[in-house]
Amino acid sequence: MNYTWNWGIFQEPSPEGAGTYADMLLSGLSWTIATALASWVIAFSLGSVIGVMRTLPSRAANAVGAAYVELFRNVPLLVQMFLWYFVLPELLPAGLGTAVKQLPDAPFYTAVLCLGFFTASRVAEQVRAGIQSLPRGQRMAGTAMGFTTVQTYRYVLLPNAYRIILPPLTSEFLNNLKNTSVALTIGLLELTARARSMQEFSFQVFEAFTAATILYLLLNLVVIAGATLLERTVAVPGAR
């Protein structure tokens, strides 16, 4: 094989002017983290609402929740990304559409919305499963104490459901983190995109991808460590 390794490449200045290739990758890493966190806020809150709707006795709430999940689960993420980025601004009133297109960091905001709504459908399924796994009597006990439906969810059902679904929520968080890379197609300069441009500029393809791989693995480890810590903190004494 005639590939020439050059691990020193990271110290060399990138053709973008300021900084080295290492700086370029780290800037990509920070966009990846920012996108993952911001979209998770949407995914977690919206997903919780949708998931709760699917456990309410109201048939209408159920149908809306189910429709949301089916819609966002059955269209590829990349297509959704294009819909948010290319299609939505065209469907808005002309002035607003133009404003959206000219927004600085438009790829970032688009990616956050797209990933947030996409991951929400997956969080919703976990929240629903968590609530449904609780004994039926818990809801009854809350109701019998005089709690309203909102209070029953707030004080009884959700605190228990979230504890149960913490492991699957962690993997949804990791999926969301990995999915940020799809946003390179709409021009988000996240980690994979930066590794790809480093490869194009320097031709040191394997160094670039190895570095990106290591950074993703580190992110995974940090998230898993954090989740383990969280699990330990919220663990209920005496729980089986």
């Binding site: 818990q138 019998a144 005089g146 009884v156």
Partner: protein
């Protein structure tokens, strides 16, 4: 989210009125009048009528599937019913104008499987509803909660979580949790049938004491020893109907219906 799970089912012919209603027949705490309930085509309750007076202890018994638990849950509207009326301390249960959470806050309930909130400590289980539903201060709720824990003999366990207690202890906590709301009546839904035999006694002791203190109680149970000791009346149900509704001694000594005789001979045989 204003839909209450228990009121979203269709109700027939409930008059909409918010006028205060006179307490039903002769100062009854609970008046159950001609209550019928269907699951689709299947009739689970047919024309049930009975009453529980203030300070009275009524034991409801009958074979499994007889509708006794369902009838009990109709009293605080955990179950809906399509015909008849139940009045609790002057408030009609099947009435759109009734604020069900407020009604339920005044009716204590103890479940077969305890249903303590597993993520909260024992004392938090006792103070959650008084604070969030009755609006009591944390201090007042805690003080009352600790008093009640002492009363059921579990002061030492206030900071533990339900998962760290035995079944009998959990059910005693559940009784204390219901009492923390200062209910006017207590409902018990087979409170000892999920317990290991050696723990039944400690729970029944608490219930006996409660009855002797004058609490109004409606108790679904198979514990005939408890019924003999503290019940004023026994209601015997079978296939969704109230077959007998008589004084305790009458029920045990001279049950009129054949079904009650059969039931008693089975349950007292061992």
């Amino acid at each position: 989210m204003t839909t209450d799970p228990m009121t979203s089912a269709p109700m027939t012919s409930a008059p909409v009125t918010s006028a205060p209603q006179p307490a039903a027949a002769g100062g009854s705490m609970i008046a159950i009048e001609a209550v019928s309930k269907w699951y689709g085509e299947f009739r689970v309750l047919s024309g049930c009528s009975t009453a529980v007076s203030r300070g009275e202890v009524v034991v409801v018994c009958g074979p499994s599937g007889s509708g006794k638990s369902t009838l009990l849950k109709c009293v605080n509207a955990l179950e809906t019913f399509q015909e008849g009326q139940i009045t609790v301390d002057g408030t009609r249960v099947r009435d759109r104008a009734t604020n069900l959470p407020r009604l339920r806050a005044r009716v204590g309930m103890v479940f077969q499987h305890f249903e303590l909130f597993p993520h909260l400590s024992v004392i938090d289980n006792l103070t959650l509803a008084p604070r969030k539903v009755l609006g009591r201060s944390k201090e007042a709720a805690t003080k009352r909660g600790l008093d009640l824990l002492a009363r059921v003999g579990l002061s030492a366990h206030a900071q533990k979580h339900p998962g760290q207690l035995s079944g009998g202890q959990q059910q005693r906590v559940a009784i204390a949790r219901a009492l923390a709301m200062d209910p006017v009546v207590m409902l018990f839904d087979e409170p000892t049938s999920a317990l290991d035999p050696e723990m039944v006694g400690e729970v029944l002791d608490v219930m006996v004491e409660l009855a002797r203190d004058g609490m109004t109680m409606m108790v679904v149970t198979h514990e005939m020893g408890f019924a003999r000791k503290v019940a004023d009346r026994v209601v015997f149900m079978d296939r969704g109907e109230i077959v007998e509704d008589v004084a305790k001694d009458t029920f045990f000594d001279r049950p009129r219906s054949e079904r009650a005789q059969q039931f008693l001979s089975k349950i007292l045989a061992h």
